[in-house]
């Protein structure tokens, strides 16, 4: 009898708990009925197309080639390009570690000299990419696609589709700074960066911070750099950081390639020994690498660079742009979603609250009077 009572008590308790939890879930209060909300969930871009295909999300926003992968697979279509949200918005940048730049390697070789040569190689590689993209029947385009396929582990169809939506460039102008200022201000508005932390760093506001964080003087000086017959840092390689499979950063892949340029890479042409590290999974991981002094120069998205510079005091400087635009909002090919308004009440995947894709989608939705809230 006693055992039966025990079993009964446990069963009743379990039923009450499950019923209570179900009641909480079902009766959870929603926002005001008239408010338009799009919900988001965060995940790695590599998971997004499978979630979309499984109808667990109604859309996703990601950088290339993750956007084109579902378009080429026939499971997704583009609802909106990031260029439509903010034309020519900056995306990936080239970041230099300040202690590396200030380092004296002896023999007249300094970190600054190496950084300028690196940037010259970046400029040449970027212009090679632009020339290749301008002539799709040329041999260089085939070479570029091959390099991209190897780097991204995607098919040539995906890579070629992705190239059509990325703009490569290295210059930084007033619009570039304005966009970074807008991203910084969005961080301030959401509390991820505080005005107090900017002031503690010596900056009155986001605009002053960005003007200092972005240094165009390196690019200006790099334009005059000539090739070098010898390697200036044979035993102190530049430790290069970059993101895994990110097509935005193809310039460093081109600059490292030896076979495409007669046996020496563009970096070597400019007298550089560059050691490409194992790829980082995201910008935050790469910024941790900078903080730990394991990365000298890196390619990554501008927003994590900004966040970690301000909050973690990671001593870095943005010395060049790597690309602009190159992200897309993808919906299922069969879905009824034809506008941002159609996403109201639905769930969208983003790479995370700190990513540029998340910020851009938030801008686009807020413009339509739609709130963007974690689901």
């Amino acid at each position: 009898m006693q055992t039966q009572q025990i079993v009964l008590a446990v069963v009743v308790a379990a039923i009450l708990v499950v019923a209570g939890v179900a009641a909480v879930i079902l009766l959870r209060e929603e926002g005001p009925a008239e408010e338009k909300i799009v919900y988001y969930t965060t995940m790695a871009p590599s998971l997004m197309d499978s979630w979309l295909a499984e109808n667990q999300t109604s859309a996703y926003i990601a950088w290339e080639p993750y956007a084109s992968s579902s378009v080429v697979a026939g499971t997704g279509r583009v609802l909106m390009y990031s260029s439509e949200i903010m034309p020519q918005h900056p995306c990936c940048v080239v970041l230099a570690y300040d202690p590396f730049v200030e380092e004296d390697l002896g023999g007249g070789v300094t970190g600054q000299v190496l950084t300028l040569r690196f940037l010259k190689a970046h400029i040449d590689a970027t212009e090679w990419v632009l020339d290749a993209l301008a002539d799709k029947d040329g041999a260089n385009y085939t070479l570029l696609v091959d390099m991209a396929v190897q780097f991204t582990q995607r098919s040539s169809a995906v890579v070629e589709e992705a190239f059509d939506h990325v703009t490569y460039g290295y210059q930084m102008d007033a619009e570039f700074n304005d966009a970074l200022e807008q991203f910084t201000q969005m961080y301030v508005d959401s509390g991820l960066v505080t005005n107090e932390s900017l002031v503690n760093l010596g900056y009155a506001n986001a605009s002053v911070f960005v003007d200092d964080y972005v240094d165009e003087s390196y690019l200006v000086a790099a334009e005059a750099i000539a090739p070098s017959p010898t390697i200036l840092n044979p035993s102190d390689p530049i430790r290069l950081g970059y993101l895994a499979g990110d097509l935005h950063q193809i310039a460093q892949v081109v600059a490292l390639n030896e076979s495409a340029f007669g046996g020496t890479s563009i970096f070597e042409d400019y007298g550089l020994n560059v050691d490409a590290l194992d790829p980082f999974l995201n910008g935050n991981a790469e910024m941790l690498g900078f903080k730990m002094g394991q990365v000298d120069i890196g390619y990554l998205g501008a927003p994590p660079a900004i966040n970690k510079r301000v909050n973690d005091l990671t001593d870095t400087t943005i010395v060049a742009q790597a690309n602009s635009e190159g992200s897309s909002l993808i919906v299922s090919v069969n879905s009824d979603v034809n506008s941002l308004e159609d996403l109201v009440g639905e769930t969208v995947s983003t790479p995370g609250e700190l990513s540029i894709q998340h910020l851009l989608l938030k801008i686009a939705l807020n413009r339509e009077g739609i709130a963007f809230v974690k689901g």
Binding site: L47, K291, V310, T347, A371, K374
Partner: protein
């Protein structure tokens, strides 16, 4: 006497009987906070690069206070919302683990065949960190139940193994005595084995609850629905370098873990009293 008065009397008795334990526990926490304060002060004074990562106890306290109404980086959420979401997942995952692990543990503990068949699978899957299962579980069980499944996985094995151990350690003298008195196999199982297993079950429950809370970060870090939880915000605040809020959230996880284990302990004591086992 009213329920409130009874509770107050109970609490007074608890404090009176365990004041040394409470005093020493409080002292250790105070010493820890003092050491933490000294460390953050030292890092700040020496302008160490680690300063942002070790906010002062006061900064964390302020973050904890403010989190009741605002969370950096997570619009329209407060710490209360995070607690609600995570408690839901932990309670659901834990109870599913309990409902499955208890009978399975009883079966594997009392049947050699079941034990020999089940043990290799248990030993194979037990050491795999729950984080490794996240993409698979999220796709298999969908966005709400995927995180619950991660919590379930964390709580399942401690309960299963403790119940199994409990069955195998039932005093054979009691079994013999029951058999001598004419009890059949079923009666022996229900009236001797099950009550003997309860202390082991409760040990497994308390460990399982702790592991369930440990899994909440892995469970919530990606792709979930049902609201952001404590684990999600630990990841977001860390990624966003809001370390005061990150530590504040970790403290909340710790406190909730202690409270849920405490509830389990109280239920255990009530059970023993009611069944006359103590």
């Amino acid at each position: 006497m009213s329920l409130t008065a009874n509770t107050l009397v109970g609490l007074r008795k608890l404090v009176a009987s365990r004041w040394r334990e409470l005093a020493l526990g409080t002292l250790s926490i105070v010493l820890f906070v003092c050491a933490w304060y000294v460390a953050s002060w030292y890092l700040q004074e020496t302008s160490s690069g680690l300063t942002p990562y070790v906010p002062s106890p006061r900064a964390v306290g302020e973050a904890l206070w403010k989190s009741g109404s605002f969370l950096p980086g997570l619009d329209r959420y407060t710490m209360w919302d995070l607690m609600e979401s995570s408690l839901t997942r932990v309670v659901l995952g834990f109870f599913v683990a309990l409902v499955l692990a208890f009978p399975l543990g009883m079966f594997m503990g009392s049947s050699r065949i079941a034990e020999h068949m089940g043990k290799p699978l248990v030993e194979m899957f037990r050491p795999i960190p729950p984080l490794a299962w996240v993409p698979v579980f999220l796709l298999a069980f969908r966005a709400f139940w995927g995180p619950v499944a991660i919590v379930f996985l964390g709580a399942f094995f401690p309960i299963l193994l403790n119940v199994m151990f409990g069955v195998k350690n039932v005093d054979p003298t009691l079994v013999d005595a029951a058999r001598t008195l004419g009890a059949k196999k079923g009666n022996i199982f229900v009236k001797v084995v099950v009550p003997s297993v309860v202390p082991y079950l409760m040990t497994g429950v308390k460990i399982g609850l702790g592991v369930a809370w440990m899994c909440i970060v892995a469970a919530e870090y990606t792709g979930l629905s049902g609201g952001a939880g404590l684990g999600y915000y630990v990841m977001l605040s860390g990624t966003g370098s809001q370390y005061s809020y990150m530590y504040a959230t970790m403290i909340v996880i710790g406190v909730l873990s202690i409270l849920t284990a405490g509830v389990a302990g109280l239920l255990e004591q009530r059970f023993y009293k009611w069944s006359g086992m103590k």
